[in-house]
């Protein structure tokens, strides 16, 4: 088994990635840097791998999208380094790792939480090619002073509709962590996508 190494310094590397994810979700649509030296088997990107290693453990089932699930090396890497069970039903996942965001399943397929425990929902971690703040869609909500703009690509064709539906279900819904090479941004369910007329 040719297993790739995980974090070189497990404690501090995991803390750094956790901090980036925490700040990403508390200041939505604002980009943070996410430097990582993890070299996972493709199509798992270094950012997806770093987040999985920092966030997942035996108590957090992972769902992998079809391109990732097709790779035995990716499954072995994640199993070894996180100990997380891999599940085929997205509604059972605490984290969904998505390498092909354009074809991501509808958000409703994932766990939405319950009125008593809205936190029992899936957090989606997406690997994008392009992530830029200051341009693109406008967002508002907790953690955003006024309006923040975030341009993300590639995304599903019905991206705006999905974000709108997800926000409308608050406090239920999914949270999104978006990554691009060296970057991370968060779009939690509390963040509202603004229509052009609102800006």
């Amino acid at each position: 088994m040719a297993l790739q190494q995980g974090f070189a310094d497990p404690v501090h590397d995991a803390q750094g990635v956790f901090r980036a994810a925490l700040e990403g979700l508390s200041r939505p649509a604002l980009i943070r840097s996410l430097p990582t030296k993890v070299a996972p088997p493709p199509p798992l990107t270094p950012e997806l791998a770093a987040l999985a290693l920092a966030l997942a453990d035996a108590d957090t089932p992972l769902w992998l999208d079809p391109p990732l699930a097709a790779s035995e090396a990716v499954a072995a890497f994640l199993r070894f380094h996180t100990g997380a069970p891999l599940v085929s039903n997205p509604a059972e996942a605490v984290f969904a790792i998505i390498a092909d965001p354009q074809n991501a399943p509808d958000f409703a397929a994932f766990a939405q939480g319950t009125p008593d425990y809205p936190d029992h929902s899936t957090t989606l971690i997406l690997a994008l090619g392009h992530l830029e703040s200051g341009t693109g869609h406008a967002f508002s909500g907790p953690g955003i002073k006024g309006v923040a703009r975030l341009d993300a690509a590639p995304v599903p064709a019905d991206w705006q509709e999905r974000l709108g539906t997800n926000h409308a279900g608050f406090p239920l819904g999914i949270d999104l962590i978006l990554t691009a090479p060296g970057r991370i941004a968060g779009l939690p369910r509390s963040t509202r996508l603004l229509q052009p007329a609102e800006v």
């Binding site: 035996a58 108590d59 072995a76 996180t82 100990g83 069970p85």
Partner: protein, 370 residues
Amino acid sequence: MYVAVKGGEAAIDNAHRLLAQARRGDPAVPELDVAQIREQMGLLVDRVMTEGSLYDPDLAALALKQARGDVVEAVFLVRAYRTTLPRFGAALPVETGAMAVARRISATFKDMPGGQVLGPTFDYTHRLIDFALAAGGDPEPAAEAEPDSDAGQCPRVTDILGAAGLLETSPPEDGAPVGDLTREPVDYPADRALRLQALARGDEGFVLALGYSTQRGYGRTHPFVGEIRFGKVGIEFVPEELGFPVPLGAAALTECQMVNQFHGSGAVPPQFTRGYGLVFGQSERKAMAMALVDRSLRAAELGEAIVSPAQDQEFVLAHCDSLQATGFVEHLKLPHYVDFQAELELVRRLRAEHAALHEKVETPIREAAE
């Protein structure tokens, strides 16, 4: 009025230094070694492991040394330590039928395969202080005997009785997720698995008193000890990356099967029902008490009236944890100056109002009373 106060830092530091000295005691007396505690205070170590909910004899022994022998404080230390560690996952359920038995007795069946094996027990001792122990010295070596051919094959007594249909069977494995109260808050009603987890880590004194209360009539369950066994059991774990069971080693456990008379209900014919206890180490009293309370908490399931504390799962589960209990009780000694100031002002105002009211009506009432 809110007054922020600060201070006491030097006093706290010095109090902790004094604690360290008090812990050490008279320096003329040799210091206790952790291994000595582990080996010679074994039952205390077992209790800390059980209530600390962490199997690690060396760690429990160290916690006891640090806590100056205070069980609840040692439990606190062990519980705090475990929060610093990642969890790799859950082990496969232990197979207590395959236990390397060091003790195994039944109060209901005299002759059973594998026999009645007393092992190291206080039972049948005279409870006379042994002053010879004060002088120290090696004990007489343990007796040895050739094991019988059936030794080591000790089927659970409940399996024997169960085969005749007189005893209810255990609730079958249904593959449902196993609730974990250290991960999710307890919702009531809690299922039996969750109740057993709470009882296993519950305070021995509290669980013992509840078990005792059922015997005295507060939710009577007519119990008999079907079997108590103590010994080492292999623990197996399936690491996610390997996908096959890996033996982690053996842990000492005590298991108690309580058998209870049951008159039957509309749905269930008369039969014996069961209560179950399982704890770390040799903790027989705790395992028995746990089995009694497990059975009494099944009142709703078995159609029994819930009239006593030991049958009330919210009462039992919410109060059985020694750490939670001590945290809430002991927090009262922390500074409450501001809260109390507010109460003081309230009571003064109420007294003033009370006095004003009575001044008006006091005279006629007094006259009437006289």
